[in-house]
Symmetry: C2
Subunit: 397 residues, 2 copies
């Protein structure tokens, strides 16, 4: 259902010829109103692609009529000409849709440092505008794939202002949040981006959208740390058409947005290139949420642990080494570590026998108890595999 | 030449049976005086092995008579029993050498979380004490290897208080600094440690030793960042016998210590397990040395870049992405990146054609000009290879 699950949106995906393969590479998502509220979260990388700079500027007024997205080229590190290209994409989209360029966000993904073939991009925008439909969500999700093995969509809906969101497919009689995503941080070879577009037909103001989106991103996409690498192009957009006529309770709406973000985030982790395991690093007993996140990230980024888990070795010594590099509150002699439910480390030393741990499946949970407070956080990551190395050494940027 | 290049030292290395393979696994380095000044730098990991805790305590008075080292077991995360074992190693060595236990530093390397076989360790200490000789430096360097493919030693000497240090072999008529090293951060599989013992026959006080050692480590071992993983056992020791009778100029002495440390550090990088390239990340034009180090580390830890360089792809986009994650002073549109001398990125965008870059050799230099000041720093790292993954997934901790 993707970005057209919510009423008031049309979308499309076409093959513009940006990719040599001829695969779909250009998508449009259009808000038909009556409302045009929007919010966005961008990469915190200080090296930002031209489309990120453009979109960051036009989202300033909290309104968007459309998003144009391309795969096959990130338009990052492309200098002033790249800035012109990002603007030209917005202008061409605006002309086709009879809106203002400042109402159009631009997202690009693919190789860094290479200019886009703008003749193909602009022709593709015209073609995509002609293809727009209320069923175009899947086609849009497919067109933003780079090395993703599957396209990723999610949806949640709420039946009204007085009831909570419910998971499921299709728009309910109330309001709906739907979305599409590609990439996983900078995990996949040759690409540079996680792109997410969420839409809703709920009648929600830009500040409420912004608050819901930031809250959701903070504990979902921001906690996916597949390979510790941060992109120049990461963008998460949320557009509201108001077409349902329902003004939901802000907390319930936020919960629905969070649910869709979490669903998409876990799909990104599950599709991480070259990975053979999905690893959930759960840190509990922390003195603060920040401590829990810091410890979780340090563990998730530890190459030696990621290799060990790939080899199905419940190597808790690597976990302790990673914790020890942080400044979080803990006593090294009171650390507990469980791997897939077996407490292999107790009080900073060997606990249950490591051969009790079953690591044969794809899902791995590493739970660390810092025994220093009540805060917790979860970071999702992948194992480090020879396939990851191969895919990231055999491709160009 | 190793730790017995300097006069006043004896050493030995024996097979104590700690390793199942029967390879040498226990070493002694003994200072015969007349002076016993010593300095040390330890891991900054907050999870510290029992031998690190012991050695940190006994170095407090700036004097050591001996160092006992074992491979085959890190005695890390071993609880109170591990503390007892580290102390027992010092006590047994002290008894064999007729010194005090508080004059003996202890270094261990190998598996984390597994108790040492103390009956074999103590018998090995007695055997090693019986083998001590002025030619024992090589045997000691061999006995501390874990997965190192070669043992690593280095030496520098100065002819007197009025002349600078000169590189070369053997003790001169003046003074000498020699040393041995094993590991590379936590790069090698199954091990947990970089261990370094340096010796000198110069007549140098403990505070001067400490100053020279900290200065040298800061710009050598501390800037080797092979895989971003920090050990629980890292230890660098410097012992001075005063046997040359020469009291060198402190600056010249510091330069010699730096030279030996740099030599050993580069040997560690060159022997990094699973690596096929040695990568020098040189950051210039930084507003501060701290900025240069931060940027260099961010680049050295970027798995995507390390994979790309393994694949001989001069992927400057990855370099810019890594720089962008730091808070160093720079303008994204004024960044220059050269790879093996070819400026592939100029002003934050594509520069010279990337196919001009020759990455066929083992040595790779990535030079980043932040164009924001005069400070610089170099970080040494390795590429990320399928062999690294294999070796770190196929071994236990």
């Amino acid at each position: 259902m993707s970005v057209t699950a919510a009423r008031g949106f049309t979308a499309s995906g076409v093959s513009a010829g940006i990719k040599d393969s001829g695969a779909p590479d250009l998508a449009l998502v259009v808000n038909r109103g009556p409302s045009y509220a929007a919010a966005a979260v961008f990469t915190s990388n200080r090296v930002q692609a031209a489309p990120v700079r453009w979109s960051r500027r036009v989202i300033g007024d909290g309104a968007l009529a459309a998003v144009v997205l391309n795969s096959g080229g990130a338009n990052a590190c492309t200098g002033p000409a790249g800035e012109d290209d990002a603007r030209a994409m917005a202008e061409r989209t605006a002309r086709a849709l009879r809106v203002e360029a400042e109402q159009v966000a631009v997202c690009s993904t693919g190789l860094i440092g290479v200019p886009l073939p703008m003749d193909r991009v602009t022709a593709g925008i015209d073609a995509a505008a002609a293809e727009l439909s209320e069923d175009g969500g899947e086609a849009a999700a497919i067109a933003i794939k780079t090395t993703d093995s599957v396209h990723k969509t999610a949806v949640a809906s709420g039946s009204g202002p007085d009831s909570g969101p419910r998971s499921g497919s299709g728009p309910g009689p109330g309001w709906t949040v739907g979305g599409m995503a590609k990439g996983a941080g900078m995990l996949a070879p040759g690409l540079a981006t996680m792109l997410v577009v969420l839409t809703t037909d709920a009648d929600v103001s830009a500040p409420t959208l912004d608050s819901a989106l930031r809250q959701a991103v903070r504990t979902t996409f921001d906690r996916v740390d597949s390979d510790g690498c941060m992109s120049t192009n990461d963008t998460v957009l949320l557009l509201a058409s108001g077409a349902s006529g329902v003004r939901p309770d802000p907390a319930e709406f936020a919960e629905a947005v969070h649910g869709v973000c979490l669903d998409l985030a876990l799909r990104l982790v599950a599709d991480a290139e070259g990975a053979s395991k999905e690893i959930e690093v759960r840190v509990v007993g922390a003195a603060s949420e920040q401590d829990a996140v810091t410890v979780g990230r340090s563990i998730a980024r530890n190459n030696l642990l990621k290799c060990a888990l790939h080899g199905e070795d419940p190597n808790w010594g690597r976990v302790l080494s990673a914790i020890g590099t942080t400044s979080a509150v803990f006593d090294p002699d009171r650390l507990d570590v469980s791997i897939n439910g077996v407490r292999v480390c107790r009080d900073g030393a060997a606990g249950e026998p490591r051969d009790k741990v079953d690591l044969s499946g794809r899902a791995v949970t590493v739970t660390v108890d810092l025994r220093s407070g009540d805060a917790s956080a979860t970071i999702w990551t992948n194992d480090l595999t020879a396939a990851y190395v191969h895919e990231n050494s055999a491709y160009s940027s």
